[in-house]
Structure formats: C-alpha cells, structure tokens
C-alpha cells in the first residue's frame, strides 16, 4: 500500500543546516545549558559575574580581604578620615570602616538575597496557582495579596518583628535576621505574585500549552515545563531590582530600630548609624553605601544578562 519513496524523497528536500548554529547532535541540551552558552559570550555577564563572586567571597570569607577585627573599637580614633593604615577611615565607635564594610557584605547579601528568594517563592507559587487555576481561587488569592499589600509596611514590620521576636526574649542574631527576612518576604510577595500571575496568564493562552495538554500533560508538567520558563523574564527583572531595594529596606528598618541590631554588622546598619554624621565624616557612610549600590548594580546587570540569554530569539 504505502509508497516507500514518499518520505524518502522528502528527506532530500531537507535544507542544509544554516550557518547560524553549528549542528551538534552530541548530548541532549536544555534551556539552562544553552542559556549558559550564550552568557559565556556576554561581556556584561562576566563583569557582573566577577563582581558577584567578589561579593560572595567577601560574604563567605571576609577575613581574606582584611585582617582587622570589625568589632574592635578604638574610640579615640572615632571618625578619623581614611588614611594609609585604615583605607576607609574609622567610624563613630572608632572601628575600621573597611573591615566593617567587608564584614557587612555577608548580612546584607544574605538578607537581600534570601528575602528576595522568599518573595519569589511565595509570590511565584501564589501567582502561578492563581493564574493557573483561575476563577474563585484567583480572586481569593488576589484579595489575600491585597490585604498584605494594604497593611502599611512599617506597621506590618513592627507587628511581625514585635510578635515573632519580641525584645524581651532577647532573640539571637540568627533569629533576628530570619525574622527580618521573613518580614520583607511576607510584606513583599503580593507584588511578585501579581507579576507572576499576569505573566503566567499570558503564557497560558499560548498554543503550545494547548498542544501539551493535547499530549496528555498534567498540570505539573505544564506549569514547570511550559508556563514557568516562559514567564521567568519579568519575574527575574523584578527580583533583581528587589534585592537592591531589600538591602535598602533593611537599612531603613535598622534606622527605625526594628531591623537588624548591633552585634550584627551590615551595610544597612552602617549607613543608618552614620547618615547623621555625613557632614563631619562622610566616609563612614559613603563607603558602605557605595558597596551597597555596586552590589545592587551587580544583581541588576546579572539579571538583565540572564534575561537576555533566556530569550530564545537571541540564540
């Protein structure tokens, strides 16, 4: 019945591989694999990547960068300007600003990154579920989100911090940090949920999702293989900026006396402690602030580069 030549002929019609992408039939590749391939060739990626590594190493092994003890205070040298033996000078308590800036990276980055991760997880899950299930669940989750967004930020922070880690209990460093992270995430997730929701709704109506359903794909597969990778870009952009605003928000909470507290060293605390002294000794605030800005810039650039690389059109 069948004519064996029918398909045979067509194979001849196969076009030559275009020169744009060299044919390689080696290992199966994945989105992430290819993203990496593209990133490898981007300058902006490497710049931000190197910076990120520097920051991460700083966070993990601050002692590599400075041999000074960030806690050691020589009050007599309070607010001394930068000099050859203390590159960034001394702070109000007579501690070495350079050492404190280096040691501050850990807390600031942990808080910024973990709070963002929390926000993305919480907001992402809610947003995806709301968008995917739709109907009343969508309304319900959206309204719950509004409740959280509606509560004034500082009030929310005070309430959560006050009831989870009351000062009377003399909470330890880790607990306070955890609670600050939770506060930022709990009060911040609804915005991300909205972004994720609209991105997923957009992706949901694409034909390829229908196609996957026609193949018999279940919700998990559709969400993880089809919806999420295609909604990642706006989430990524928002998340990377958020890291920056969270590091700043931590500083504001510190200033109000409800965020991280003294034995903890962070950029936010350094900035909050020394803003008032900007007229007599700007160095004590400007150096940590500069590190903070650079760190934010690093994350945003990295996010931008990854988002670009995730865009299949650029391949």
């Amino acid at each position: 019945m069948s004519e064996p030549t029918a398909t045979q002929d067509l194979v001849q019609g196969v076009p030559e591989p275009s020169a744009a992408a060299p044919a390689s039939s080696g290992k199966p590749r994945s989105l992430w694999h290819d993203t990496w391939d593209i990133l490898k060739h981007r300058k902006i990626f490497w710049i931000s990547f190197v910076l990120l590594i520097v920051f991460l190493v700083m966070a993990a092994f601050p002692s590599l960068f400075t041999s000074k003890n960030p806690e050691y205070a020589t009050l007599a040298r309070s607010m001394e300007p930068p000099s050859s033996d203390a590159w960034f000078g001394f702070d109000l308590q007579g501690r070495d600003v350079f050492a404190r800036t280096i040691y501050g990276a850990r807390t600031s980055i942990i808080v910024g990154v973990l709070a963002t991760v929390g926000t993305v997880l919480l907001g992402g899950v809610v947003g995806v579920i709301a968008a995917y299930r739709g109907r009343w669940l969508d309304s319900l989750l959206s309204r719950i989100g509004e409740i959280f967004l509606g509560v004034p930020y500082v009030l929310g922070a005070i309430i959560i911090l006050g009831s989870v880690a009351p000062v009377q209990a003399n909470p330890g460093k880790t607990l306070i940090m955890t609670v600050v992270i939770i506060v930022l995430a709990v009060l911040g997730w609804p915005v991300l949920a909205r972004i994720a929701r609209s991105a997923v709704i957009q992706a949901k109506h694409q034909d390829y999702v229908q196609a996957a359903r026609a193949l018999g794909a279940g919700p998990f597969r559709i969400i993880f293989k089809h919806l999420l990778p295609n909604s990642l870009a706006p989430i990524l952009v928002y998340a990377t900026i958020t890291i920056g605003s969270y590091i700043g928000a931590e500083a504001t909470l510190s200033l109000l006396g409800i965020g991280l507290r003294t034995p903890v060293i962070s950029w936010g605390i350094a900035i909050a402690d020394h803003t008032r002294y900007i007229r007599t000794g700007a160095h004590a605030m400007l150096f940590p602030a500069a590190f903070l800005s650079l760190c934010v810039l690093t994350f945003v650039m990295l996010g931008e580069a990854v988002r670009d690389a995730l865009d299949p059109k650029l391949r």
Binding site: P4, A20, A23, S25, P28, A212, G216, H226, P312
Partner: protein
C-alpha cells in the same frame, strides 16, 4: 483512497456553547456563543475529511472538542468505541495516544524555550511507557527524519527553523505516539505556497505509510481539495454541506459553498475579466446571536421567508445532487470553470 473501512471516529450532535455571563454578586448566564452547534460525521481509517469555512465558524472549536481540550455542551465523540468527551485522567491520557493534533500556527504552537528534541520527545515523557528512556532520543531523531528534518538539529530551538520546518516539528510531535487519527487545524495556512507543497506532500506520504486518518481543517479550498477524500463546509457552527471532493467542488449545492468556491482566486490571469464572482455582502453574523432559521440567510441572495422560519436540515435534497446540503433551495451548480 477512500476505502470505506472501519470507522475510527464518530461525532454525534456535537454542541459547544460558550456561556456569556453577567452579574455582580453571582454570575448569571445571559446567552451563549454557539461556536459549534450540532455537528455529526464519521471518519474512517485511512481517510481524510476536509473541513472548510470562514474564520470564526467554529473549526478550531470543533478540533478542540475532538481532542477533548474543551468539554462539549452536549453530544459525543467516539474514538475507537469510547467516548472521549467523558473520559478523565488516565483513561483520557490513554485515549490521546490514538488521536493527536497539529496546530494551526507553527509560530505559537511550539514552546520557544524548548529544544526540538524536547518538543518532539515530550509525548514520550508524558506517556513514559511507550519508549524506554534510553531509546527516546533515537526515536526522536527517527521522527525528525520521517518528517524530513535533519536529525542533527535536535538541539535547536523552534525560532531557528522556517515556518515549514516548524510545521514539520509539530507534525513529528503529533506522530510520536503513532495515533490513528491526526487532526490538522489549518496546518498550512501560515505557510507560503512553496513550503505549503512540502508539508502537504509530507502529510500525504505519512498517511499512505501509516494508514492515518486525517481531519484537515483549512480555509484554502484548493488545498483542501488536494488532500481530502471528503469535504465538509461549515458556516456559523453548523455543517452546511458535506460530500466527496468532487461532489462539493464540482456540484456545490449550498449557496454558501458556491460563494466560497467562486471567491477562490484562480492562479491564472487568462480570462480574469470574464470570471463571475459571487461577492457576498456584509459580514458573518455574531455566533452569539445567530439569525433564526437558516444562518446564512442574511447574506444569501436566494433567501426567502421560509429561510427565516425554518432551519434547513443537512440532508440529501431533490436538487442537491447526491450529497446532503442544508439549504431549502439547494441546487447543484458548477461555479468554478477554470482548472
């Protein structure tokens, strides 16, 4: 060709109304978009049924109903003796191995963030029993070869292919589970002629090789004629005429079919000044509020009072020739003279 063999797909009185709701506190249904409104037909093994009709007449909705991507308002779709519209869970999943779909738009129906290998291999991951894990990659490459793609391109992304090639990827995905039925929803509409020919040849070849049954949806009548054994003409959710290709093209009896055929531009400039056209007036009415009686009457030059009062059934009529037609005044006439 059309060997009247075993029926693989049986569609009976299929209806799909999309509800229009309104209300503040609770939603009340105030009407419905009658996207598909009572369609019946059979599909035999190895046969191709072409479906033509204007945009918005319900072709894609029909396709989705057949695939159980939408639940019908009523009616049934029997695939190999089982009603797919009521199937759920693993049963539905299992039935889908026998009926697959090629989507209209090769640009949006492939996930831009998956490689071709992942796209074509996805059916195997979903139906993990079909091909063992280590054999999948090879199978995907075979499939790519079958549809005439270079198996080395397995790691490329959809946007690195031309429209025709992308459509082949879609076809390869549809073939993966070796279904008996493939529903092609306008598989060549987005392609240009030279590529269209490649895809049609491919579909033809595959049909012969695997004895597939196709539902071929399109609005290009010459394409449909080329590939189909039988053709159904839809207008506003209804089938208005159905018959073999020759019956429809040479002896159309429904005015809408006639208008449609006469509007098809003929790729030959000779005698174009003399060619007679039935240019329909007005736009198709809204499916939410279709005209009473015959739905075509608002644009029909033959319309009379009865058309508004009585809905014409799809049946063989005195003058309709040898095939059913849903027009009170059905009369076969040859509207296409050339080629």
């Amino acid at each position: 060709m059309a060997t009247p063999s075993e029926v693989v797909l049986e569609v009976r009185d299929l209806v799909k109304h999309f509800p229009l709701t309104q209300g503040i506190l609770y939603k009340r249904q105030v009407g419905a978009i009658k996207a598909v409104d009572g369609i019946s037909f059979d599909l035999h093994r190895g046969e191709t049924l072409g479906i033509v009709g204007e945009s918005g007449c319900g072709k894609s909705t029909l396709a989705k109903l057949l695939m159980a991507l939408e639940r019908p308002t009523s009616g049934k779709v029997v695939v190999n003796g089982k009603d797919i519209t009521t199937a759920k869970g693993s049963e539905l999943k299992h039935m889908r191995r026998n009926i697959q779909m090629v989507m209209q738009d090769p640009y949006t129906s492939l996930n831009p963030r998956m490689t071709v290998g992942d796209i074509v291999g996805e059916p195997f991951e979903i139906h993990s029993g079909v091909v063992p894990k280590d054999g999948r990659r090879k199978r995907v490459q075979e499939l790519l070869e079958v549809v005439g793609l270079n198996p080395d391109h397995i790691n490329r992304y959809p946007h690195q292919f031309s429209g025709g090639q992308r459509q082949r990827i879609g076809i390869a995905r549809g073939l993966a589970l070796q279904p008996e039925i493939i529903i092609c929803d306008e598989p060549v509409s987005a392609l240009d002629v030279s590529i269209q020919a490649q895809v049609m040849n491919l579909l033809d070849g595959l049909q012969k090789e695997f004895n597939l049954a196709y539902i071929f949806i399109a609005h290009d009548l010459s394409v449909v004629r080329h590939i189909s054994d039988r053709v159904g003409v839809m207008y506003l959710g209804k089938m208005v005429e159905i018959g073999t290709d020759n019956q429809i093209y040479d002896r159309p009896s429904h005015p809408y079919t006639q208008a449609l055929l006469s509007a098809v531009p003929v790729p030959d400039p000779e005698g174009r000044e003399q060619r007679e056209r039935i240019i329909l007036q007005g736009d198709p009415p809204s499916p939410a509020n279709p005209p009473s009686g015959c739905r075509f009457r608002t644009r029909c030059w033959k319309a009379q009072d009865i058309c508004a009062e009585q809905e014409p059934l799809l049946e063989i009529r005195a003058k309709s020739g040898d095939h059913p037609s849903a027009c009170h005044f059905a009369e076969a006439s040859d509207v296409v003279h050339v080629s």
